[in-house]
């Protein structure tokens, strides 16, 4: 984890730039969350995690672990998918947002960049950003100027329909659009999905910059564990709807199990297939 030093300084810089940062207690606290879809499918089974102000926190896990469900629970999107939070709490600072509606949560300072980008395809880049600033109409122009500073490529395409942007540009637009609400907590669900490695690096560098310059706290959902841990301060690993491992990003990146199963760095011959199976079983019930 060669990057842990720069991110540590980033955290302090962030604390200094945002006035509501650095208060006591975490920015986001999820406690024992249970989520059910269609009244029977139990997907989150007592998930607990925290995101400290000013940090970048990575939430890792394999397909179907429940990462996106966690994001939808935080942002109040579950009802649109016949899902509901049946137990546990979600707090943003002191505000209980467990059952708040999406608009209240955006206004409280938490914005989500959804998995799969979800740009408004038939709206221009500019209109996408206007829509993103819906909760802060007075700051729309300033916000758009700021987004164009971070993503100059978007400015050149400001009057183009978002559906015709490249995948990377769409991801930048999705992030820029979320920034329009001026979130204290920016959540990104697999921003690297479907992007070429170079673009992934670019996106991650921008996320890091946003965290450093604006003091935006970041909750980053990724399957791309290595790069996520590279820029993160803390990490959580989830399996089948609960957290199975957490720690500083450096610790997680050093953890042999994480290395093997999430970073694809199995040391050849060290483990037999039986051990792997054993691990998988253990992992599930951890």
């Amino acid at each position: 984890m060669t990057d842990s030093a720069p991110t540590a300084t980033a955290t302090t810089a962030a604390g200094a730039t945002r006035d509501d940062a650095g208060g006591p207690g975490p920015l986001l606290a999820i406690n024992n969350l249970e989520v059910i879809y269609d009244e029977v499918i139990l997907v989150l089974r007592g998930l607990s995690m925290e995101v400290a102000t000013g940090q970048i926190v990575a939430l890792l896990g394999s397909n179907g672990a429940g990462k996106s469900t966690t994001m939808k629970a935080i942002t109040g999107l579950l009802p649109t998918e016949h899902g509901e939070t049946t137990d546990g709490t979600i707090h943003l600072r002191d505000t209980d947002i467990t059952h708040a509606d999406p608009a209240q949560i955006v206004r409280a300072g938490a914005s989500l960049v959804m998995e799969g980008r979800h740009v408004f395809e038939h709206l221009t880049v500019h209109e996408n950003l206007v829509a993103g600033g819906f909760t802060r109409p007075a700051e729309t122009d300033d916000g758009i100027a700021e987004v164009y500073e971070y993503f100059p490529a978007l400015e050149q395409r400001r009057d183009q329909a978002a559906g015709y942007l490249s995948g990377g540009e769409q991801q930048m637009l999705a992030i820029g659009r979320a920034l329009m609400a001026s979130p204290t907590l920016l959540m990104l669900d697999e921003p690297s999905l479907g992007l070429a490695p170079m673009l992934v690096e670019e996106i991650f560098a921008i996320i890091q910059r946003l965290n450093r310059d604006l003091g935006t706290t970041v909750l980053l959902v990724e399957q791309n564990a290595r790069q996520a841990l590279d820029i993160a301060d803390q990490g959580y690993i989830m399996e089948s709807g609960r957290i199975v491992l957490d720690g500083s990003a450096a610790e997680l990146a050093d953890n042999p199990d994480v290395k093997e199963f999430y970073l694809g760095m199995a040391e050849a011959g060290r483990k037999s297939y039986r051990d792997v199976k054993h691990y998988k079983r253990r992992k599930r019930w951890l």
Binding site: R107, H118, N128, G163
Partner: protein, 291 residues
């Protein structure tokens, strides 16, 4: 020859203006909420009768009559959205269509109850008289009707391009979950779509009252909405304008040059042809496909 053509064209465009306004309300609701509103023609009736009640029954100035009619139509539209259609969110589209068909019958019954079925004489609101245009005698109110429709449709276009709520409504139409994550209130957008459809129905109702008269037949304009929106695309304002104009002209030209009642079926011939060739209409949003 030329004079007949000019006459048919102006009358066709004036009727097209009514079609376009009826279709606009339909498209607004469909685009934002996904509801196919079979009661759109009855909203036009409600607009026409409310205006008639204001101006003729209560003797209000036409401007107050318009305000009253707009208030009635907007309140009605909001009630319909809140009480009938919001509970249907997530139900099959057939079920939703059935609800709007039921609503259509209900509105017709209520209007019949309140106003009976004798045609009503509406005091003139638009300027009367006629002018001479290329040898044809053109009633001024037809020209004014065309201008009113053009202005209203233009205002709606500007609203959707420039205003915060207009952009929000298009965002909801494009991607509802994403719009929710922007803090856009989807229920409010739905309500606004219905309210705006109510406003366009009143303007349409004004034109109907002027050009056609106030009677139970107003609701028949509801049927012609379908050829218009199928031609123009179910979700496009520009499409409703062009669709309204094309159907309006086509009906008049057919009546003038072919006759024999063919003008009554020609819109529906167009409807079938378009469905066969271009199911999303001439101006409907093409699905953007990439990545």
């Amino acid at each position: 020859m030329v004079s007949q053509f000019v006459q048919l064209s102006v009358i066709g465009l004036a009727n097209g203006a009514i079609f376009a306004l009826a279709a606009l309300g339909f498209a607004l609701i469909y685009k934002s909420t996904g509801v196919i509103n079979f009661a759109q023609g009855d909203f036009l009736s409600v607009g026409a009768y409310a205006l008639y009640a204001g101006v003729a029954t209560f003797g209000l100035h036409w401007s107050l009559g318009m305000l009253l009619a707009i208030a009635v139509a907007v309140v009605l539209a909001l009630l319909v959205e809140r009480l009938l259609l919001r509970p249907m969110i997530g139900e099959s589209s057939i079920a939703v269509i059935m609800v709007t068909i039921g609503l259509s019958s209900m509105l017709q019954a209520v209007l019949l109850m309140l106003f009976g079925n004798a045609p009503r004489r509406m005091p003139r609101i638009l300027p009367g008289g006629s002018i001479d245009l290329l040898g044809a005698t053109i009633p001024v109110n037809r020209l004014v009707a065309i201008a009113i429709a053009a202005v209203v449709l233009g205002l709606f276009t500007v609203f959707f391009q420039r205003s915060r709520w207009g952009v929000a409504m298009r965002a909801v139409a494009d991607d509802q979950p994403a719009a929710l994550t922007m803090g856009i209130s989807v229920p409010r957008v739905f309500a606004m779509a219905w309210a705006l459809a109510g406003v366009s129905a009143v303007v349409g109702g004004l034109l109907v009252a002027e050009l056609v008269g106030v009677s139970g037949t107003v609701a028949e304009f509801g049927l012609i909405v379908f050829p218009v929106v199928i031609l123009g695309g179910l979700d496009s304002i520009k499409g409703t304008m062009v669709g309204g104009a094309v159907i309006g002209l086509l009906v008049q030209y057919t009546a003038g040059y072919v006759g024999g009642g063919l003008q009554q079926v020609i819109p529906f011939v167009v409807l079938v042809l378009i469905l066969l060739v271009r199911p999303y209409g001439l101006f409907g949003e093409v699905r953007i496909e990439r990545v």
